[in-house]
Symmetry: C3
Amino acid sequence: MLHQIPFKLFTQGRGTYECTAQVRTAVATSGVETGLCHVFCHHTSASLMLCENADPSVRSDLERFMARLAPDGDPSYEHDQEGADDMPAHIRTVLTQTGLSVPVTDGHLGLGTWQGIYLWEHRTAPHQRCITLTVQGE
Amino acid sequence: MLHQIPFKLFTQGRGTYECTAQVRTAVATSGVETGLCHVFCHHTSASLMLCENADPSVRSDLERFMARLAPDGDPSYEHDQEGADDMPAHIRTVLTQTGLSVPVTDGHLGLGTWQGIYLWEHRTAPHQRCITLTVQGE
Amino acid sequence: MLHQIPFKLFTQGRGTYECTAQVRTAVATSGVETGLCHVFCHHTSASLMLCENADPSVRSDLERFMARLAPDGDPSYEHDQEGADDMPAHIRTVLTQTGLSVPVTDGHLGLGTWQGIYLWEHRTAPHQRCITLTVQGE
């Protein structure tokens, strides 16, 4: 069995946006009992992350970590056509995930207790982001 | 064909634990000749890594690299309920892999000569970690 | 349906080498209309990256970022048998991707407008790199 569905997420700019509920719904709709669910982000300046979903300070700490690792407006960047956050967005994307697969078990998305699926918007301006879910199994 | 099995790894605290043998066994058991084997770690403070499996100093150098990149007890972390290694464990997880897929070819796990699959425990205390293997193919 | 093919890439040393065309061809050959295409790199000192494919300065900035993050010849590395670029190549590989999956939709590789698939050679000397493509779907 194979089930593929696109969906869009509208971001308010840099930050993390949980999409676990959308992925759970797609798995339920697919009818797949055992298999894998793949999530794909069709962009190079936003990415995906499996992250602790209880304390929001984990995600604000991650944001601060990335801001220090790949600072906006670093004069060493040559690529800055779209602004000070342009190249940092590409670096953050390459260091995290563009696609991720999660097991489907007993008809449910098999995340651990503290795992949530997040879209990480790396640009400071709001964007519309395209995601494709592919559920494969039996 | 589809074969999914969970297993547990017991860690002695921070460090790398090879699990290539368990994954090879699951592939052999599955009967899949051609396809993919997916490994998934159900945690946000331990992760997976495909790494050089010959010289242990590669992994101790990686440990040192991460300790410098995301130091334990950094005063900039807000999230520290579980101790100085709490937030660094989440950062290390996000920078590495929670899931990875490896080709299955001729009934065997198709790793390169120097590739091993490791669970990377990022917490300093011992933990029990849950892994799910999903083998899909024909 | 399942289609698996190996191919080789010959690199001129450190840098990025686009292989989107090879992956697109494999998807077309597979006959898969809907599913996933998995790309796997059988090495621990070269990796894969989904990256902006329009402005080459994105990739030269990424190269410079990595050179600063994991400098060649850093005296803190114990593993240096193969030279100053040996351990940095393993670090860069662990921080990026060894395998990646992209949706197949309507018989085509479902990349976003600005996404390209690159092999990232992390060693300074030329190498022959082995890749396996696995296309699964219906």
